[in-house]
């Protein structure tokens, strides 16, 4: 337990030191929430703006932490030989990954608490199933962490940086986060519906609004939650 706890503390410290990571995980989601929550600019698929915006931004927060932040930090640690070196210590790779997972979970808790609090300040009044929302967040975390590690373990660090940030923007714009997929052009919407972000945001918007989430969103989310980690385990290279 001592190595795992020490590693968790070290990984947390390293995350706090990365200013760009704080910007992506907390700064951008907060900025988008406050900006679009104050100015009613986005299409919301017929819902109250905040009923769409807050759950969608929570989905974005999961993407930023589990995919972007994890991919970039792990990619550079791989490039710097940190993963290789730690593989020959008693910490071992399973505990290294456990520590990283715990840090992702910790940051997500901070994000959810902060974004929910700000959402409530803006007038959001959720009426949903917290347990189902939690399940969706867990599935989303699994899916995006798998994708993040897949990038980090197969691409050069610089390429991981570009792909992770690029994916973040694409998913934000056409992955059901900033704009509901039903508001996208038909062809694009059909493709967007298959993305993990659309699955996660779709489920969160529904269950936090007191509705039953469409089964299609759950299925998409569950498939990505399995496929992401499986692909990462299959193709991840430690050096």
């Amino acid at each position: 337990m001592k190595p795992l706890w020490a590693q968790f503390q070290a990984e947390t410290r390293m995350s706090m030191r990365r200013g760009e990571s704080l910007l992506v995980t907390l700064g951008i989601p907060l900025l988008l929430l406050v900006f679009f929550g104050t100015l009613d600019l986005l299409p919301t698929g017929g819902r109250e703006p905040l009923d769409f915006l807050v759950p969608s931004i929570l989905a974005l927060a999961v993407i930023s932490t589990a995919m972007v932040n994890l991919a970039i930090s792990t990619g550079f640690e791989r490039q710097y030989g940190v993963l290789k070196r730690l593989g020959t210590t008693p910490l071992g790779r399973p505990r290294l990954m456990a520590a990283k997972t715990a840090v992702v979970a910790l940051i997500e808790v901070v994000q959810v608490v902060t974004l929910t609090f700000v959402g409530l300040l803006l007038g959001w009044r959720p009426d949903g199933n917290v347990a189902l929302a939690l399940v969706a967040v867990l599935l989303g975390t699994s899916a995006f962490a798998g994708l993040g590690l897949l990038m980090a373990g197969t691409l050069r660090a610089e390429a991981t940086l570009a792909v992770a940030n690029g994916s973040y923007i694409v998913l934000l714009l056409v992955g059901g986060i900033a704009v509901p997929i039903e508001s996208l052009p038909a062809g694009l919407g059909a493709v967007a519906a298959l993305t993990p972000s659309a699955g996660l945001a779709g489920v969160l918007v529904a269950v936090m609004g007191g509705e039953a989430a469409p089964i299609g969103h759950w299925v998409v989310l569950a498939i990505w939650a399995i496929a992401g980690p499986v692909a990462a385990v299959r193709w991840f290279r430690w050096e």
């Binding site: 190595p3 020490a6 390293m14 990365r18 490039q79 710097y80 593989g87 008693p90 071992g92």
Partner: protein, 315 residues
């Protein structure tokens, strides 16, 4: 500190070696990096792997560290296969990579404390930091350390867990002379405490100073093995440097053997090396008013042996 007793002891007669490599073959696609290499290393021994770039040193060491897939043959560290049994092996080995291996934003103090937490009975991080001369840089992020300081930190991380086997890759590259002396002392202390040290280095003087045994490899094969002072099979000779123009036939006639002038003013006199013969040579030169600028007697230096063996295979 590193000098405190490790749990293992130098190999008793019949005890298993700390490192066993048998007919090792490592391939990268069509390229064979290591081609049937065999050697052992004992507890309490410093074995140095020498070879030119691309000789297969890193592939060999990384096979022993569990990083490389073995195409044929076998490697054992403390009796375990590092590729499949790293969990059992990790508490007993220390690894110093050729570069990197530390979080860029982590300070030496943080890194040593973190690595110490992985082991059940580690060296005291602060004392190790001071010993490596990193006390003043203990709060500096790794990415801002000099190359030499990064090497010293990597070395400290490799030994903080009191390893039974230490793999050290270029431990003094870029390190200043004072710290270099400390590194050599540390390596010898590790061996004295029973640790088997596998040292990969290009610094032949360093190898001569600390290694008990040297293994020279080239193109994935062993070309020589032995103690640094005994590895050469070249004949003994007296080498001396003077102003050019010595009467070589007269010198050869006076002392027997052959006389060669490798470059103007640098002479080699083959034959037995005895105090009397060296004194006679100095007298012979003095009688001809020849000032001796440099004189060395005996076998080849490790550098000369290395150059001769590797060059011979490359020509």
């Amino acid at each position: 500190m590193a000098g405190e007793p490790a749990t293992s002891t130098p190999r008793a007669s019949g005890a298993a070696p700390a490192i066993e490599v048998h007919d090792l073959v490592v391939r990268y696609g069509a390229l064979t990096a290591v081609d049937g290499l065999s050697f052992n290393a004992d507890h309490g021994e410093v074995l140095s792997l020498l070879g030119p770039n691309g000789a297969g040193k890193t592939s060999t060491v990384e096979s022993l560290e569990g990083y490389r897939k073995v195409a044929a043959g076998s490697v054992r560290v403390l009796g375990a296969d590092p590729a499949t049994d790293m969990r059992r092996l990790a508490p007993d080995i220390g690894v110093m990579l050729q570069q990197g291996g530390v979080y860029p934003s982590m300070t030496p103090a943080e890194a040593l404390r973190l690595f110490a937490s992985y082991y059940s009975s580690p060296n005291e991080p602060t004392a190790l930091l001071e010993r490596m001369g990193l006390g003043a840089a203990s709060g500096t992020p790794w990415k801002r350390l000099s190359g030499g300081e990064q090497r010293l930190l990597s070395l400290a991380l490799a030994v903080v867990g009191r390893p039974k086997v230490a793999f050290l890759d270029e431990p003094t590259a870029g390190v200043d002379p004072d710290a270099r002396t400390e590194v050599r002392a540390l390596v010898r202390e590790l061996a004295s405490s029973g640790t088997c040290v596998l040292l990969a280095s290009h610094d032949l003087e360093e190898v001569e100073a600390v290694a008990d045994r040297v293994l020279i490899i080239d193109r994935g094969r062993k070309v020589a093995e032995g103690a640094p002072g005994q590895i050469s099979d070249a004949p003994e000779e007296i080498r001396f440097t003077t102003s050019p123009g010595i009467d070589k036939p007269a010198l050869a006639l006076a002392f027997g053997g052959t006389v060669a002038e490798s470059t103007p003013g640098r002479y080699r006199l083959t034959g037995e090396v005895t105090p009397a013969r060296v004194a006679d040579l100095a007298t012979w030169l003095a009688e001809r008013d020849v000032l001796v600028l440099e004189l060395r007697a005996g076998g080849e230096s490790l550098r000369e042996t290395f150059a001769r063996l590797v060059n011979r295979r490359q020509t």
